[in-house]
Symmetry: C2
Subunit: 389 residues, 2 copies
């Protein structure tokens, strides 16, 4: 149960032949009555963006922060596909708008998959038209949409958060290329809360910043990332703080689900850096550790090789003083005072053998802190990504 | 033939039990007459540095840019080993100084291996004393030293460059953790040219900047990197430009040898970015591509997936305009005008199947350019680095 959980939303999905294996690959999430509602979206920070990002940005700007539907496709990113690709993204929106009876600028579009491959719009258009016509309320419709957007994901990613008088539902896809700034991930949030579009935009940015943007899988930043939210207004007027909390919680749970499903990874790793001179320094240190191939390999091997962690902190340019750093795995300090310290190696080994690793570096310099969610690096990642065909 | 090729240098090596497999692991390179000569060194930019880096920096400062010898050990980085580790590095220098008859501050020390493991100085000291006593001229002595400093290297790395009236010899080790700024690599250069230590320092910095610092293997920056040079002055007064060229050529050949020997890699990849607004922008773009896990996996799979290359350029923050970028593999353009372009796929496949890949991105924005040497990412890298024991 995800995007159809809040009141006032319908969804549908189908297979249009974009995915070679014949699985569902187009989806629509729309307001139940087809009317536009307050909407917001956050897009990739990559300077090279896919056609759907350009179109969605333009639509959201011209509709003044309103949307009636989001069209999603998987298996082809429709990125670096030239003017034909832009027109294809526009056509997806037009088909949805016609079926729903809204303005074309009130439809957002999200696409994910391979870059640089012409998008098969001729084949997809009629399937999408039927999908739009088949839109329906209920858990099955929402889950179908969440399944249709999967690429290398192995599990569907949905979440529902119940607030005081309102509900937030969400779905996402993403299993790699996840870096600072949400690479190759798509997420759609829905809520029945009554909220102004400008406020909704602010809440979404803060929620994304403290969830998806704290997730580092392989450090790559994609061309297609989009997180969109639609607010039907069918429930109560939401307290902005409560809605922000619920949206942050929804995004956070989806980010954790992405880490758990990361390509070739066997561990979810929370990297906490505390005692930095500022939160920004702590974040820089935590990201440096999260992106380190050597640290990721150690985590895959369940090896508490703290030397590499400290080496990465030293390379982060945040004024680390080696003697002050304490590094712990699972709460057990293994390094302090600039050298290894005696510890219960069996307890550390037991922690490292689990599927969740807590890695903590206290820098002893100040009050800044940050937690980044990351993964190990396993052979499956290379297998998944060495060939596209 | 390497460090003993220029006139006035001797070397020796032995096994002191630091490496578990019993291979040679200590080496000395010294002036033949034991007298100090102009010397310079470049160290890691990591804020966390190993004991030998601290000691070598201090020695070079107090000797005013002179040294009579370099002691090297492999198998233990002597990093994050506390005051005991510092004293161990000092003792290595003291033993060498006593054997050679020079001042302790005229000895540099380089160490490489695991971080955070106490250095077995008691066992190494007597072996080093004998090694220093056995120092000798000739190719075999130089090659022995080059072998002793290997860690995960599979081949010895030596080079000799003949200049006009002078010679540059060099050896290096390094097969991973090589990033911007020479991570976990050691190199010793020798020359018989007559040169002032201040000038020598400038020449070394420029040579390193255009060779080792243009090599990216895994993006990690180590705690122990050192490139040192000693100039015996036994040959002619060198033209600074000619000496810089020879030193740059020596460092460049060693950097290529490191890329070819990189852990788990099967390809050496030259990433050229041209047409950037500045050389700095071009370098930023080339490094972003070189560090990308997704690009590295594609190269391993011999897959000319240019979409990831353009995506990384877009993530580099250098104002890339997708429509203007032309990406080529082996000189064959595969992307231009913001989309894929028709090309001879068989010719590209043949190029990708080789052990050297030329990847070129012309940005169409200006005159800035940079070439970074890099590698693919293979399963061997994970195997090599997932466990330290």
């Amino acid at each position: 149960m995800g995007v159809t959980a809040p009141e006032g939303f319908v969804a549908a999905s189908a297979a249009a032949g974009i995915k070679a294996n014949g699985a569902a690959d187009v989806a629509i999430v729309a307001t139940a009555d087809g009317r536009p509602v307050p909407a917001a979206a956050v897009f990739t920070q990559n300077e090279v963006v896919a056609a759907p990002v350009e179109i969605s940005r333009a639509h959201l700007a011209s509709s003044g922060g309103h949307a009636a539907a989001v069209v999603l496709t998987a298996g082809n990113a429709n990125c670096l596909t030239g003017p034909v690709g832009l027109e294809a993204a526009r056509r997806l929106c037009r088909v949805a708008a016609e079926g729903i009876g809204c303005d074309v600028a009130e439809v957002l579009v999200c696409q994910t998959g391979l870059i640089g491959v012409p998008f098969p719009i001729e084949a997809v258009e009629p399937v999408l038209a039927k999908t739009v016509a088949a839109r329906a309320p209920g858990a099955a419709a929402g889950s179908g949409a969440a399944e249709a957007i999967m690429t290398t994901d192995t599990v569907r990613k949905e979440v529902v958060i119940r607030g005081e008088g309102f509900t937030v539902g969400a779905m996402a896809k993403g299993a790699a290329m996840v870096a600072p700034n949400m690479a190759t991930m798509l997420a759609v949030l829905t809520t029945d809360a009554v909220i102004d579009p400008t406020v909704l935009d602010q809440l979404l940015r803060r929620a994304v910043d403290r969830s998806f943007n704290r997730l580092v899988i392989d450090g790559c930043t994609s061309t297609n990332d989009t997180v969109a939210v639609l607010a039907s207004g069918k429930a109560a007027v939401a307290d902005a703080g409560a809605l922000e909390s619920a949206m942050t919680e929804a995004c956070g749970q989806l980010a954790e689900a992405m880490a758990a499903d990361a390509e070739g990874a066997s561990k979810v790793v929370h990297i906490a850096v505390t005692g930095a001179r500022s939160d920004a320094d702590a974040e820089r240190g935590a990201r440096q550790i999260a992106k380190s191939l050597l640290v990721k390999c150690s985590l895959n091997g369940e090896d508490p090789y703290w030397g590499r962690v400290l080496s990465e902190l030293g390379a982060a340019g945040i004024g680390v003083v080696a003697d002050r750093v304490v590094i712990s795995y699972g709460g057990i300090p293994v390094c302090g005072g600039g050298a290894g310290i005696r510890h219960d190696a069996q307890a550390v080994a037991a922690h490292m053998a689990g599927s969740n690793i807590e890695l903590h570096a206290e820098l002893g310099l100040g009050q800044g802190s940050c937690i980044i969610t990351s993964t190990d690096l396993g052979h499956g990642y290379i297998e998944e990504n060495r060939r596209t065909s």
